[in-house]
Amino acid sequence: MSDIIRVQDVSYEYERADEQGELAVRGVSMRVKKGEWLSILGRNGSGKSTLIKLLNGLFLPTHGSVTVGNFDTRDENHIWDVRQTVGMIFQNPDNQIVATIVEEDVAFGLENLGVSPKEIRQRVDAALAAVRMSEYAAAAPHMLSGGQKQRVAIAGALAMEPDVLLMDEPTAMLDPGGRREVMETVERLHRERGLTVVLVTHFMEEALRGDRVIVMQDGRAILEGPPRELFAKEAEAICRAGLELPPMAELARRLRAKGLSVPGEPMTVEEMAAAFGALRRERRGKHAG
């Protein structure tokens, strides 16, 4: 797989009037591969939002470089190419919708790119259909639920036909229903269109769905790997970074600490049930024998 985003030894410092600011991101190097689902985990203030804003040129690195496709984000001539390649969804659904009508908001990015009206129409309709919001095309955004607003925001990004979808805790302000709605939409787009996903989240279950996880602590990327492997092998480091394991992984860890040999690495409720089933069968086998 080829890399679509390359981050090389990037640091970022917020400019502050009063004092020398601390580095919000320190010497991070990472790649985003085309077609993968990468989750970025970390406690509050660990630099996730700062890092993700560096990936589409909203912030420019203080040190190091970020390359999207063939373009350095510092290259002013290609900044719009960069932003078209990586769509971005923010945490607060209210503060990223610009227009007073759903379909006009989805059209916003394309209008900025100077696409012809006819093509905008087609791409807006297609994007709204892709997030299953076609019937709300003429609705006012403030009448929608949080999950619906986030889907509209996704449609707005999708209409620009990006290769990557960057999402900064897109479900943090939603109720469980809205959370499911949004995650299912993203999963479907990832599966059906091969959309590359970079998801910042503090829900470990959401990270489980991805191919790869990066854990941030104090502006550094301290851990990297496939989620299951990482949650199993690096449980200590993850807890030290201020995160909690997925509930079932935590349960397995505590049961093992109590001397129960839970088989495998259960992360979800279903897997835990299966593990208990296996354990019981094993014990019965022992008694019989």
């Binding site: 007073t100 009508i101 900025n112 403030h142």
Partner: protein
């Protein structure tokens, strides 16, 4: 609930008047206002009344809504009427009683002046009742585009209006939330003298303003992430097209204007 408020007084519909190009409606409104100021004779008022009545009928807006728009200024209408009746001089007295001189000219002038006010309000209301604020903003942006040559920031003004329209319901909702939260902690917004009430508003306004600035910051970032870079090279999804109905509306307005001018000149 607060967020269900409609902005302005737009009354959605699918009538002939609703479907007119908003740019045409705006231009015709300017002509209409000119007519209200130009109209002079009895016939002219008749034409203008007929023009307004036909427009109102075609818009399928209920008379109740049109009248409602006049109600807030009814006092001014009545005041104008009384003032004009009392202080217009004329040669054909109807009633003379002490210092009171009511003349035929005075009555005529008072009726006409009041009618002008009513026409003005009813006509402009008809526009805002049949055209959404966002369509009006759009139309204004497109009509004023030539002002760009004079470095007047037409696009920026329109974008500001759009964002204001988008966020008013959101901010109202937030006000509602903060108010409820403060009331639950014992704040009292409804009693006391003016100063006390103004003081009670401070804990409401502070979080509201802080929130609004945070929103503005995030929105600016979201707009940049979606390649917003001002009005240059920007296209629009919705193309406004002048239809045959717009032609008819222009024709009818022109005819009324002509009749009014004719009466004035002859």
């Amino acid at each position: 609930m607060l967020k269900d408020i409609t902005l302005g007084q737009f009354y959605p519909g699918d009538s002939l008047v609703h479907r007119l190009d908003p740019r045409v409606k705006l231009v015709l409104m300017v002509v209409y206002i000119a007519m209200v100021f130009l109209v002079e004779g009895f016939l002219g008022y008749l034409f203008l009344a007929a023009f307004l009545a036909v427009s109102a009928f075609l818009s399928r807006i209920r008379i109740k809504f049109l009248l409602r728009s006049i109600r807030p200024v009814l006092f001014i209408v009545v005041f104008t009427f009384v003032l004009n009746i009392l202080f217009t001089r004329g040669d054909h007295p109807i009633l003379e009683w002490g210092v009171l001189h009511i003349t035929w000219e005075g009555v005529r002038f008072a009726v006409f002046m009041s009618l002008r006010l009513v026409f003005l309000l009813a006509g402009t209301s008809l526009l805002t009742l049949t055209t959404s604020p966002i369509a009006l903003t759009d139309a204004l942006e497109r009509l004023l585009k030539p002002l760009n040559a004079l470095h007047f920031p037409v696009h920026e003004m329109a974008m500001m209006m759009t964002i204001a329209l988008r966020f008013i319901p959101t901010l109202l909702e937030e006000t509602d939330k903060i108010m409820k939260a403060q009331t639950a902690r014992g704040a009292d917004f409804d009693t006391g003298n003016l100063l006390q009430r103004a003081k009670a508003m401070v804990p409401l306004l502070v979080p509201l303003f802080v929130g609004a600035f945070r929103r503005a910051d995030e929105l600016a970032m979201a707009m940049e992430a979606r390649c917003y870079h001002g009005g240059r090279h920007r296209t629009r999804m919705k193309v406004l097209r002048v239809s045959r109905a717009d032609g008819w509306a222009c024709g009818a307005t022109a005819a009324t204007l002509l009749l009014i001018l004719l009466e004035r000149l002859l």
